[in-house]
């Protein structure tokens, strides 16, 4: 039953311990959970939970290791968020999901279609969470995700409509606010990504925002070097070097080392026949030089599938100066899937484990930093989100 509260009593996978890894998978038709043994060789699949719900993002809170939020909706019903306080064993609908303010009669107000992105707040603010929505809005919770209020500095900013192209001409099911990043050194220093709209930065915890898109191509806009309007697909900030950001954009792969405000197109070093278009970007949690992407076909009419039907991850271990193909174990031909922006993550293991889910409902994993891959699950619905339970963002 869609959005069932009764399902909240079902048992789900919980956070990892003793080398075990637990993965949360959000799909177009519900949520699934996988848990490994200590070697990460054997996996148990549990689910579905909230069968029929469109699950855009499931995110665990690294601050307490117990709380997780799940952004969900159904095709008919309005959006909501489910909350777990026991590492995903059970879920309960929150009290007040993100919603735009009601406007006076006769005016056209914004309506949240779905919550697309969830981010736990700074370590010093243990009950703070942020949410990005479609249409694009920024919301903040100060009670662990139970209730939400709009961040006026973005949602009511007089420039908002300009930044988000007037909420028109966005991606097929609406513009997406995503990649809400918090500087681990400063709760007031934030970044966010908008598809479309570009990358933005705030130094005052969201009260004001400025575009951060210098150096990023936007070949779908007639204006050369626009200040905003770009299409970042996914941004990530390195936790050990917070002045380093990586970005997989509609127009390439980029790196930014602050205090510079000009991105460098590190995707220029990708093989020309592969290009540097894709959705996800994943960082090595212990090495700011190492990053993974999963390229897709962004040529001609933008098929958004594996290039040539031969999927592969690409890894750089030198911050994007060079890239290596990692496809051992992946289908060698006729595999035409996409890996969406929230659908690739790492664990904390040594060597690092990597995980990605496909639009064709397969979950793939590597126990050796991408050197080889194995399929953990097939025949799931279209996968939107693959995240680590009980811990890291």
């Amino acid at each position: 039953m869609a959005g069932s509260k009764r399902e909240a009593t079902k048992t789900a996978a919980s956070g990892a311990a003793n080398g075990e890894v637990a993965i949360m998978v959000g799909t177009r038709k519900g949520a699934w959970f996988l848990r490994s043994d200590a070697s990460r060789r054997k996996w148990a699949l549990q689910g579905p939970q909230f069968l029929g719900c469109i699950v855009h993002h499931i995110v665990a809170d690294p601050r307490d290791g117990k709380t997780a939020l799940m952004a969900a909706r159904t095709g008919h019903l309005g959006p909501t968020i489910y909350r777990s306080t026991n590492q995903g064993k059970s879920w309960k609908e929150i009290e007040r999901p993100p919603a735009f303010p009601k406007v006076p009669e006769g005016q056209k107000g914004l309506v949240v279609d779905h919550v697309f992105w969830l981010t736990p707040g700074h370590a010093s603010e243990k009950d703070v969470w942020y949410a990005g929505t479609s249409p694009q809005g920024l919301f903040r919770s100060e009670d662990g995700g139970r209730t939400w209020n709009g961040v006026a500095g973005f949602n009511e900013n007089p420039n908002r409509s300009k930044w988000v192209w007037g909420d028109k001409d966005q991606t097929p099911d609406g513009g997406k606010m995503h990649s809400i990043l918090i500087d681990p050194r400063d709760a007031k220093h934030m970044y966010l990504g908008m598809s479309g709209g570009g990358s933005f930065e705030s130094l005052d915890q969201g009260a004001s925002w400025r575009p951060l898109n210098k150096g990023v191509e936007a070949n779908f806009i007639p204006t050369p070097d626009p200040e905003f309007g770009h299409d970042p697909h996914h941004m990530a900030l390195h936790p050990l070097r917070p002045d380093r950001l990586y970005q997989q954009n509609h127009c390439g792969i980029y790196r930014l080392d602050r205090p510079s405000d000009t991105w460098t197109r590190i995707g220029a070093k990708m093989p020309k026949k592969i290009g540097d278009i894709g959705f996800p970007i994943v960082l090595h949690p212990r090495d700011p030089e190492t990053v993974w992407v999963f390229p897709m076909d962004g040529g001609s009419v933008w098929p958004r599938v594996s290039l040539g039907g031969k999927p592969a991850a690409y890894r750089s271990t030198d911050a994007g100066k060079s890239w290596e193909r990692q496809d051992k174990g992946l289908p060698a031909e006729q595999a035409w899937f996409t890996v969406k922006r929230q659908a690739m993550c790492s664990d904390q293991g040594a060597p690092l484990g990597l995980y990605f889910g496909t639009t064709s409902g397969e979950l793939w994993a590597s126990r050796n930093e991408g050197e080889s891959w194995g399929c953990l699950a097939r025949h799931l619905p279209e996968i939107y989100s693959v995240t680590l339970a009980g811990g890291r963002r």
């Binding site: 399902e7 159904t74 095709g75 019903l77 309005g78 009290e95 309506v111």
Partner: protein, 86 residues
């Protein structure tokens, strides 16, 4: 007031397909529904107080958008998930 609950919302009513809710207007009935079954109204009505795109609300056989519609004794409210999706 009899309120007919569609399948996707019966998780809120412990599986009940029909509940009895007092109210003099559609808005009042929806408010009481939400009081008894927290969160339910927002799944049906958006933040601009409009019936959501893929939901229909009927008073007897009339599809309504105006939540201030006054209800008479014996009226029945039916919430329907429109035929859509895939």
């Amino acid at each position: 007031m009899k309120v007919h609950i569609p399948g996707p919302l019966r998780s809120y009513t412990s599986g009940a397909a029909r509940v009895e809710i007092p109210g003099e207007t559609v808005a009042a009935v929806l408010a009481e529904l939400d009081r008894r079954y927290p969160g339910m109204r927002f799944r049906i009505i958006d933040e601009q107080d409009r019936v959501r795109t893929h939901i229909k609300v009927f008073v007897n056989a009339d599809s309504i958008e105006d939540l201030s519609r006054v209800l008479a004794g014996g009226d029945e409210l039916t919430i329907i998930c429109a035929l859509s999706g895939g």
